[in-house]
């Protein structure tokens, strides 16, 4: 199929919130796995059209907190979330909220690239299809093409959309997963160590992509790489033992943090 030249027809969905407005806000969030208290009293404002990085030593609860934002923790039977997380001032833990609908609004990219064992096209088209975003086949083609373009993968795969997504390289697979998340036009994209399985070149591409995606999406990224946090994010949040230690502008965080633990962690003294 030939979809080149259709790019201009696709305009990114306009977002109401301007940059630096609060998109996600968490109030006194507690997370328990059974008896284990994994997240304690976390309060954070995540800004719209900003990349926020979560850093902290292993096991401190970065993934746990990230997964609270799209209620992926609901799938873990022992997991219990208390407190209040709201997106655009709507509490996502309100009993009236359907997590399935929420996840269309808050996309997720996982640590390990996990494309569906289907064609590249089907991988990206799946989300729009189940949400009924395309009325016609040509609409779907447009959405897929635009998502792949936003994910910077279009030029590499445009000639083989029918070949399996699992046949791509690791970095391409991860960008395919990003395209898959982008295709449903979410407002927030959560990324849990999206580059940890990638080589430096693929990592650079994904980082570049994150940089571009910031124009349209609110991005939260968990990373173990200080350099990556410094490169891609504007805000950084530091977790330690389930607590949010400090949240600040990335520049300040890496030059002159307020908290001693942040200083120690960034200097590599623990973690």
């Amino acid at each position: 199929m030939n979809m080149s030249g259709m790019t201009t027809a696709i305009t990114p969905t306009p977002k109401v919130a301007a940059m630096n407005e609060t998109k996600v806000s968490a109030r006194d969030v507690q997370v328990y796995y059974g008896d284990k208290h994994a997240i304690r009293d976390v309060n954070i404002e995540i800004r719209s059209r900003t990349v926020t990085a979560f850093i902290g030593p292993s096991g401190c609860g970065k993934s746990t907190f990230l997964r609270c934002i799209n209620r992926m923790n609901d799938t873990i039977a022992s997991c219990r979330v208390e407190g209040n997380i709201s997106i655009d001032s709507e509490n996502i833990y309100d009993p009236k909220v359907d997590p399935v609908q929420l996840r269309a609004k808050v996309g997720m990219v996982f640590q390990k690239p996990n494309p569906f064992p289907k064609s590249i096209f089907e991988n990206v088209a799946y989300g729009p299809r189940i949400h009924g975003l395309a009325a016609k086949k040509s609409d779907l083609d447009d959405i897929v093409a635009s998502a792949l373009q936003k994910a910077g993968l279009w030029n590499e795969v445009k000639d083989r959309l029918d070949s399996p997504g699992t046949g791509l390289s690791g970095g391409q697979q991860q960008r395919l997963c990003i395209a898959r998340a982008v295709a449903v036009s979410p407002e927030v994209i959560l990324m849990d160590e999206p580059c940890s399985a990638l080589d430096p070149i693929a990592t650079a591409k994904v980082e570049e992509l994150i940089h571009e995606l910031r124009e349209n999406f609110t991005i939260v990224i968990v990373t173990h790489s200080m350099q990556q946090a410094a490169r891609v994010s504007q805000r950084t949040a530091m977790f330690h033992l389930g607590n949010l230690v400090e949240e600040n502008d990335t520049d300040k965080m890496f030059t002159n943090p307020d908290d001693q633990r942040t200083q120690d962690y960034i200097m590599g003294r623990f973690g």
Partner: protein, 451 residues
């Protein structure tokens, strides 16, 4: 300082050992491995030997049942005997019993022998005609009732030779054994030889073995697997249609939706146990529930199918749950992450990936059910059935037999010719099983090769 000296010692120790010469420990390890391999090879060899022995015995006994001896005769369908009032009315033709057809065959045989100049040699014509099966008049009668217009014509028939004559050409009956046998005589065998030379008696491929129904104790040559194959096919259909959807639905529910609590644990343990329950217990259950309580007919494929469904369900559920468990959780996360509901993530992504495992489990379950005998004996499928069951679905309620039961049945009969039949039936059963396994392999390949 101490650290350094420790490393120094270790280094010295290592230097003293040459890797060109294995030390005692390595030699012991290698010897143990060699012994283990030997035991493994012996075990495999024994298994192969047993299998080869089994197959050899079955094939040497049973292959001959795929060939059968026939006597080809031109029989004059005498209107004076078969249709006395000349009305060609099937009802009145049916009044003539098989005894009315015997003289026609005797006459045809005598004429054929006269034409080829073969003498009866020390037997009366009656004894000579006994080398034709007692089944022959019956099949002649069936043909005439089906084609009343042929009355008055001379029609060529392939009539079954008697079991002893057939056995003679398969090496089961010899001149010596015939001398001691009330059912045949050396003279009869010699006559058969002369008929064979004249081309009247021939041995050829036995299609009837697959299509004919069972026959009585005294007519092994006429017995076939027709009813048993139909019965087994009906039961497999019932088992497939009932147990696949039920089993898959139950597995999906248990694996993906059911809450983890005492109750589901109990169900889980029970399903695992059910798979190990002796099959005869299911037969008793079937007898009590389906026949005595629900009032379904005995010997019917519907009851057999239901009992075998109960037996197959645990196998399918266990296989399906294992297949569902084997699907990486990252696929579920991926689907949920783009906003698929749980149901969508299962039916769009998990189930297709689990399909090869599910299909393999189902076909293994079906193959088990196909070979199952004990429960069928209890629900009366061992009855002597000569009538073909009707087409489905009505035929599900007609009496029928089943392949393994037919094997069992034939091994219980007195005439040695049934040994051959039983082995032949085992071969047919094995071929079906191999076919099913092939289908399983092909389906698995097809589903796996998608990506």
């Amino acid at each position: 300082m101490t650290d350094v000296s420790v490393f120094g010692n270790v280094a010295k120790d290592i230097q003293t050992k040459s890797i060109l010469e294995p030390d005692a420990r390595t030699r012991r390890r290698n010897a143990a491995e060699a012994r283990f391999r030997l035991w493994g090879a012996i075990a495999v060899a024994l298994g192969v030997l047993a299998l080869v022995g089994l197959l050899a015995s079955i094939f040497s006994n049973g292959l001959s049942s795929f060939r059968q001896t026939y006597v080809t005769l031109d029989v004059f369908l005498d209107p004076a005997k078969l249709d006395k009032d000349g009305s060609r009315d099937p009802a009145s033709i049916a009044k003539v019993s098989t005894f009315g057809y015997t003289p026609l065959i005797e006459k045809a045989l005598a004429e054929a022998m006269a034409a080829k100049g073969i003498s009866v040699d020390g037997m009366n014509a009656k004894a000579a005609s006994e080398l034709i099966s007692k089944e022959a008049p019956a099949s002649l009668r069936n043909h005439v009732i089906a084609n009343p217009s042929e009355i008055g014509e001379t029609v060529s028939f392939d009539l079954l030779a008697s079991g002893r004559i057939d056995g003679y050409y398969k090496g089961r009956v010899t001149m010596e054994s015939a001398a001691l046998d009330r059912n045949t005589s050396p003279e009869q065998l010699q006559l058969a030889e002369r008929l064979k030379e004249a081309g009247i008696l021939t041995t050829r491929f036995n299609w009837d073995f697959f299509t004919a129904p069972d026959a009585s104790d005294t007519r092994p040559e006429a017995s076939g697997l027709g009813v048993a194959i139909l019965g087994s096919a009906y039961m497999m259909l019932i088992v497939l249609v009932l147990s696949l959807p039920l089993g898959v639905a139950a597995s999906i529910y248990l694996e993906e939706f059911a809450p983890q609590n005492r109750f589901t644990d109990l169900i889980e343990v029970n399903i695992a146990n059910l798979a190990a329950v002796p099959s005869i217990v299911f037969g008793i259950l079937g007898l009590a529930v389906f026949i005595n309580f629900a009032g379904l007919p005995q010997s019917a494929p519907i009851v057999g199918g239901l009992v075998l469904t109960l037996m197959t369900l645990p196998t399918i559920i266990i296989a399906t749950r294992a297949a569902l468990k084997a699907v990486p959780p990252s696929i579920r996360d991926a689907a949920l992450g783009v906003g698929a509901s749980k149901m969508q993530s299962i039916f769009h992504h998990v189930l297709p990936l689990a399909m090869p495992g599910i299909l393999t489990g189902t076909i293994i379950g079906l193959a088990q059910a196909l070979g199952e005998t004990a429960p069928l004996l209890l629900i009366g499928m061992v009855a002597f059935v000569r009538e073909y069951p009707a087409g489905p679905p009505d035929g599900f309620f007609d009496p029928a037999s089943a392949l393994p039961v037919q094997v069992y049945n034939w091994t219980q009969r007195g005439d040695p010719a049934f040994v051959e039949r039983a082995s032949g039936a085992i071969i047919v059963l094995l071929v079906f099983l191999i076919l099913m396994n092939l289908i399983a392999i092909i389906l698995r390949r097809r589903f796996e090769r998608r990506w």
